[in-house]
């Protein structure tokens, strides 16, 4: 589903991703682990098309299309969803207004009919109930005054509402206590499907106790330094990232 080949990404004159190659087939969950500063978030932002994250060479193909040629909103409409490490607060923009605008923009870009307000509210109510989110929270300005856990839950809620096909979870476990982590992981696991792929970016192995990956990749110094099965995560937890940080450039 997602095929990244020899990707190089530059941020503010510094090359952060230096020749990354990765294949993520549909139906699979891959974890990206690595030390701080390895380029994990940079990879996530580059795949989502964040301005300032300049791809200098290499390719990323998504469902046979050139992902890097699309604008961020086009990628979103095609089913790319990035769960932010620090979800943004939007003062004055009620959650429901934001969600409906986003959902309808995605539908419009795909040539589908817009969803009418009553049908949207029904859908939002169902999805919120499943994630134990108080519906009144959605009437408030998006994420404003929410705790770290609430913001992450709101990200998972949006994920379930938009039904994306490629999920990129950027440090979704950061700032979560164990209960919040479980709610988030349950939401992610419920989203597993044969036509959906996930890239789970994390510093710690902890999240992978809840979201079991099919493959684990070690990202160090801007490239994949090692790949393996789920056991690799445990090995990293025991031994740390030191041996990968010394990979010659």
């Amino acid at each position: 589903m997602l095929s990244i080949h020899d990707l190089h990404v530059r941020v503010a004159e510094a090359e952060i991703i230096k020749g990354l190659t990765l294949d993520l087939p549909a139906g699979e969950v891959h974890a990206i682990m690595g030390p701080n500063g390895a380029g994990k978030s940079t990879l996530a932002y580059a795949l989502a098309g964040r301005p300032g994250y300049e791809v200098t060479s290499g390719s990323a193909t998504y469902d046979g299309e050139d992902l890097l040629a699309m604008t961020p909103d086009q990628r979103s409409a095609k089913g790319v969803f990035l769960s932010f490490q620090y979800p943004l607060e939007l003062p004055g923009v009620p959650g429901l207004t934001f969600l409906r605008t986003a959902l309808n923009a995605q539908r419009k870009a795909r040539g589908e009919d817009e969803i009418a307000a009553p049908a949207f509210l029904k859908l939002a109510r169902e999805k919120a109930a499943a994630l134990k989110i108080e519906f009144d929270m959605l009437r408030r300005p998006l994420n404003v005054g929410f705790s770290g856990g609430e913001k992450k839950r709101m990200e998972i809620f949006q994920m379930s509402l938009f039904s994306p096909r490629l999920l990129i979870l950027d440090e979704t476990d950061s700032g979560l206590d164990i209960d919040a982590l479980r709610v988030v992981a349950d939401g992610v696991n419920a989203a597993r499907a044969p036509d959906r792929a996930m890239l789970v970016i994390t510093h710690y192995q902890r999240l992978l106790d809840y979201i079991r990956p099919d493959r684990v990749h070690v990202l160090a110094a801007g490239r994949i330094a090692a790949s393996g099965g789920p056991d690799l995560a445990h090995e990293l937890e025991r031994e740390g990232y030191d041996k990968y940080s010394k990979v010659p450039a």
Binding site: A48, G49, R50, P51, T71, P72, D73, R75, S76, A77, F81, L82, F84, P87, L88, L90, P91, G92, V93, T97, F98, T101, A102, L103, A105, Q106, A109, P141, Q158, F162
Partner: protein
């Protein structure tokens, strides 16, 4: 010196110029070389319905400076109208006119004044002078929509005097003009309350100027002020807010905020918040910010599928929405909100 006196005397030297500190950014003398001829009467049959008609018990209309019905001051006594639509309609082309009205609220009465400045002509010069007096404990809510023609020069000035315990709440929304100024000069009574809010949404080469002066001479009065503006293209916004707390006005509470978004490189905002405090026991503050839309928020919205122009519109609407939400009158608030949304959409 004022536009009104220049129009009355026909003397351009009466026009305020950049030499007056308060008119530094809205220099009329430099702009108007000769005063235009007086506007002819407008065509009352061509009047379109005003935006606030349905909410009002009574409508007072000035057409090219002429009042269409009634005369003399509007006095609100206990048995008078509760909601008045006040319309200043400019049908003139290249001519000038002046409108004046006095409004007096007897003690304890409540009035909602829904005011519009409507441009139905072109290149006119329009001046409006209001004299508003609130008796003891009277309450007035004033909501103003300013929609002048692109090439108009329009100035509206209100002198407001509050009796003790009177309550005056004002929200003015403007989209500017060639030159447009909305000025409020308010004198507090003892323990009176004033809210002076504003919104400016300027595009093209429009200019909008929201100026106010509030004087606290008595004990325990409160002033709250929140103005927000968005400028794009080559537009220019001006905010001048002066609060004077004179000796003896102890217990004054005054807060002023002005926040602007500059949405293009060639747009400009000039702001001058001033607090002059001569009393000891007061609580005063002001905050002033000028910035751009948050790029991180824009990317977040794009990641969720919202195209850039739509995302900018949502954020801008949310930004000025804080001011609109302070309008107490529900019907007027809804109309103001729609007014803002429509003008932001048109600008995209």
């Amino acid at each position: 010196m004022s536009l009104g006196s220049a129009l009355k005397t026909g003397d351009v030297a009466e026009l305020p110029s950049r030499r007056d500190e308060d008119w530094r950014w809205t220099d009329l003398r430099g702009l108007i070389r000769t005063l235009p001829a007086a506007s002819p009467p407008g065509d009352a049959a061509a009047l379109k319905p005003g935006p606030f008609d349905d909410l009002a018990d009574e409508t007072v209309t000035f057409l090219n400076g002429r009042r269409l019905s009634g005369a003399g001051p509007v006095v609100i006594s206990a048995d008078a109208s509760r909601t008045i639509a006040l319309r200043f309609v400019n049908q003139a082309h290249g001519t000038a006119h002046h409108s004046a009205l006095s409004i007096a609220l007897e003690p304890g009465v409540v009035l909602t004044l829904l005011e519009t400045h409507e441009g139905a002509g072109a290149a006119y010069v329009a001046d409006v002078e209001l004299d508003i007096r609130l008796g003891e404990g009277a309450r007035l809510q004033r909501v103003v929509l300013i929609d002048e023609a692109d090439d108009a020069i329009a100035v509206a000035t209100a002198e407001v005097e509050l009796g003790s315990h009177a309550d005056f709440a004002q929200t003015a929304l403007t989209r500017g003009a060639k030159r447009q100024r909305f000025e409020t000069r308010l004198r507090h009574g003892t323990a009176a309350k004033a809210r002076l809010d504003g919104v400016y949404l300027l595009g093209g080469e429009r200019r909008g100027d929201l100026t106010s002066e509030v004087i606290h001479n008595h004990l325990g009065a409160t002033t709250g002020q929140l103005t927000k503006g968005c400028v794009r293209d080559q537009a220019r916004g001006v905010f001048q807010g002066r609060i004077i707390v004179n000796r003896g006005a102890d217990g004054t509470d005054a807060r002023m905020g002005h926040h602007a978004l500059i949405l293009s490189e060639r747009a400009e905002v000039d702001a001058k918040p001033e607090l002059e405090i001569y009393a000891d026991d007061v609580s005063c503050s002001h905050g002033n910010t000028v910035g751009a839309l948050d790029e991180e928020a824009l990317f977040y919205m794009a990641q969720r599928g919202i195209p850039d122009p739509e995302a900018r519109g949502l954020l801008t609407e949310a930004f000025v929405g804080e001011v609109v939400d302070r309008i107490e009158h529900e019907g007027a608030r809804d109309i103001a909100r729609a007014w803002v949304a429509e003008r932001l959409r048109a600008a995209q």
